[in-house]
């Protein structure tokens, strides 16, 4: 086993400091947005990054899945499943933070607007992905089938994200970059949000590398039986 590198230690402490700063800034530096109930808009600094990480994890998982089918390298399968496990966690966080906000703003936890549908879709995909993995005993077959499923899910995402909202209606506040391509946000809020997105991405990559190592060790132990 390799010892943690000095660079890794610096990065981890850096991440800790950065996330602490983001949390502080979210409550004390950024102003509460106009047009929202009380302080409720502050949830955006945590809700948007978790949704972003859930999406990023999905992307990472799909890329690893494609690479697995090409190379048949078990490491890619580990990457795909590690990214999905994190994606599931963050998708749950995004759903919970989103529905708390929805309750405050619109009076109901759930409205099935297109963005809520998208995140539910991600949740369902992740749940299905792990249900499938649990149902296949053969490791090679499990890796192949779940990779194929991840790709199938991936190709339906554009339809859900881009086509469904055109046909359905939405309550969701405009995303940061709206249709006119202009940023409609207070500059301090925008700084904190970007900082938080950066921090959460860092958090994801750290957790992701940990998860890959843990799963790698678990598999090596199984292989030692061989």
């Amino acid at each position: 086993m390799s010892r943690p590198s000095p660079l890794g230690t610096v990065l981890r402490w850096g991440l800790f400091a950065w996330m602490s700063l983001v949390i502080w800034a979210a409550f004390f530096y950024a102003p509460a947005a106009a047009g929202f109930q009380g302080q409720s808009s502050r949830i955006v600094f945590f809700h948007v990054p978790t949704a972003w990480v859930a999406t990023l994890a999905f992307l990472v998982s799909c890329i690893a899945s494609i690479r697995y089918l090409r190379s048949r390298d078990p490491k890619e399968d580990i990457r795909a499943s590690a990214a999905s496990a994190l994606g599931l966690t963050f998708a749950i966080l995004a759903t919970v933070t989103g529905s708390i906000f929805a309750r405050i703003m619109w009076g109901s936890y759930w409205n099935w607007d297109p963005r809520e549908t998208s995140i539910t879709f991600l949740l369902l995909i992740y749940a299905a992905y792990f249900a499938l993995r649990a149902a296949i005993a053969d490791p090679e077959r499990r890796a192949t089938m779940s990779a194929v499923y991840a790709i199938l899910a991936f190709v339906t995402v554009p339809f859900l994200v881009f086509v469904v909202p055109r046909i359905y209606w939405s309550l969701h506040p405009d995303t940061i970059i709206n249709t006119q391509g202009r940023i409609k946000m207070d500059s301090r809020m925008f700084q904190v949000l970007m900082g938080s997105l950066f921090g959460f991405t860092g958090l994801f990559s750290w957790l992701y590398s940990l998860e890959c190592r843990v799963e790698g060790i678990r598999r090596r132990r199984q292989h030692e039986v061989l």
């Binding site: 053969d138 490791p139 199984q222 292989h223 061989l226």
Partner: protein
Amino acid sequence: MSEGVRLEFDGLAKRFDLRVVFRAVSGAAEPGEVLAITGPNGSGKSTLLTILCGLLRATRGEVRYLADSAEIPRDRWRKYLGIVAPAMSLYENLDALENLRFLALVRGMRDSEARCCECLEAVGLDPARSTTVRGFSTGMHQRLKIAQAILHDPPVLFLDEPGSNLDPAGQDWLEELVARERGRGKTVVLATNDRREMEWGTRRVALSG
């Protein structure tokens, strides 16, 4: 496909989750040889055969089909092999001839009708050609499975306990069939625990439990 095919496998290991079926199994068979795979129940004879015919991936190790020392890609193996195995059945709701006709059609064989009848005759199922497989005895089912394996005259023949459920006359006939295929330069891989069948082998791979 008249040329012979050499079959090689090297360092094969198979694991299902935590259960290791076998580790590091190697062997080879030349055209005109019978490779006998033996071992107690649960030693992985059938698993090895499914890996060799490309239906299952090994956890580790390699399988090669060589025709004139050129390697045949994995997705084309199926064209070069026929298999009889206990875990592989024919369609119960079709009759004997319909089964063979279907398999010949999807293999893209020409003049398949004559060949199907020929194979049915060869295994002695000619009188039962229009009987639905559901109504077959286990021995008859076994004969039909053998007919299916030789239908496209493949250069490699996998036989997993081929004599099970066959009557003594059937076993004699099977022995003749194996000798004949060998003589025609076919590569035969035989998984068995039957003393008599073991003796047909010209090479042997013994799996331990």
